[in-house]
């Protein structure tokens, strides 16, 4: 903060280029869509015109040299390969099903309505409350099934696992918004879940002691 408040010397004030001049120079060399040649020369000329003595400072010479080197390198194989790779990655991301074309689309507000239409009928509750009712009902069904089918494990276990999976899916889809968020998030979550299920199957194959 102290440096910011330091007053410039008279020599610095004489050599200082005004903000308008800087913006004009920067505007002349704004990044083009492609790689037009001659940008380095244009920058050098603009800087020389802006300078009082027509000489470039060391920094300005460095910048123009770097720009000139970039122009010379643009037709080389590595640069073209890099461009191709970046274009490929962009195309791959855009081709993911459900990936938003515009980033803003992914952040549309969730359903904020106070009513929910289900099977053609309108309920006076938000979708979040409807999901909560479903979760509560499924939990009650789970406990009842566990007690009523206590001795019939071959039916009880798959049934209870199915209900637990359905409850988890409701939370993930509606409360964690995977129904309208990017599919990349779903893949990120489902891959380790799949690995866990595979590990269960693998461990089930190991005989007991």
């Amino acid at each position: 903060m102290a440096d910011d408040n330091k007053k410039p010397t008279s020599e610095e004030q004489e050599n200082a280029v005004t903000d308008d001049e800087l913006k004009q120079i920067a505007g002349d060399v704004s990044p083009p869509d492609e790689y037009p040649e001659g940008q380095a020369d244009a920058l050098e000329e603009a800087l020389e015109e802006a300078s009082d003595d027509g000489e470039l400072t060391a920094v300005e010479e460095g910048v123009t040299s770097a720009l000139r080197a970039t122009e010379e390198a643009q037709d080389t194989a590595p640069v073209q390969a890099f461009d191709s790779a970046v274009s490929g990655i962009q195309s791959a991301i855009e081709s993911i099903p459900g990936a938003p074309e515009e980033p803003q689309d992914a952040h549309a507000q969730p359903h904020l309505s106070d009513t929910t239409v289900l099977f053609g009928r309108e309920f006076p509750y938000s979708i979040y409350t409807m999901v909560f009712f479903a979760l509560g009902a499924l939990t009650i069904i789970e406990v009842l099934m566990a007690e009523l089918l206590a001795s019939v494990e071959i039916i009880k276990i798959p049934l209870l696992l199915s209900i637990a999976t359905a409850k988890s899916a409701l939370v993930v889809i509606f409360y964690m918004h995977l129904n309208h968020d990017s599919r990349v998030f779903a893949v990120t979550f489902l891959v380790p879940v799949g690995i866990a299920l595979l590990s269960v199957l693998f461990l089930l194959g190991i005989p007991a002691n």
Binding site: V17, L22, I25, A146, I163, T188, V191, A196, A208
Partner: protein, 210 residues
């Protein structure tokens, strides 16, 4: 020249840049959830293998718990499910621009989280009194169950505790208006809280009902 560069660097974030930043934050949270899934999976898989290999011990534990014990845990599950609902209702309020409404819902989230932990502590005391302990006693009728039970449930409880603290922090930031224009911080906390809820849904079914 440098002034121009600084000016360009510190310009206002465009809508597209903001959206990408939000994407990155949410993606980071999903990656964290993925890593948590791997950790919880090891404990859940260990329990499943024990359940398959020692069905009589698990049946003995369920009988020791009794219907009252199962109903108590069911009630606790309802507390966590309700806290998830309160969480998402709070998120809805802040997205509608109602900061006070969000904070009211989040008081409920934090309160239900604390109640869940209190009941879990009571349950632990009850189970310990019945001889279900971390200590592996080969002569016990519940031999080997304690570690398989306490490891995932206590690890989950630690997540609930961390979630309650995070909830209080979110409420404090919300009261200062941090989320008035951008509620992604609330949404990210919500992802965590709902994930903790999902883990409990699975633990409840696997440990207490099957």
């Amino acid at each position: 020249m440098s002034q121009v560069a600084v000016e360009q660097h510190h310009h206002e974030m465009s809508a597209e840049e903001k959206a990408r930043s939000i994407d990155n934050q949410k993606f980071a949270m999903w990656l964290f959830i993925a890593s948590e899934t791997v950790i919880f999976s090891t404990m859940i898989v260990a329990y499943i293998v024990f359940r398959i290999q020692e069905p009589e011990i698990v049946k003995g534990v369920h009988e020791a718990l009794g219907l009252s014990g199962i109903l108590l845990v069911t009630f606790n599950s309802f507390l966590l499910l309700t806290s998830s609902w309160a969480m998402v209702m709070g998120l809805r309020e802040i997205q509608r621009g109602n900061r006070a409404g969000m904070i009211r819902w989040f008081w409920l989230v934090a309160g239900l989280g604390v109640a869940f932990l209190a009941i879990q502590y009571y349950e632990y005391v009850q189970m310990a009194s019945k001889g279900i302990t971390l200590y592996h006693d080969p002569s016990s009728e519940f031999a080997g169950f304690g570690m398989r039970f306490y490891a995932p449930t206590a690890f989950h409880g630690a997540h609930v505790f961390a979630g309650v603290l995070w909830c209080l922090l979110v409420m404090r930031r919300a009261s200062k208006g941090v989320y008035d224009k951008n509620s992604v911080g609330v949404e990210i906390f919500g992802l965590y809280w709902h994930y903790v809820d999902i883990v409990w849904v699975l633990l409840f079914t696997l440990i207490y009902l099957i």
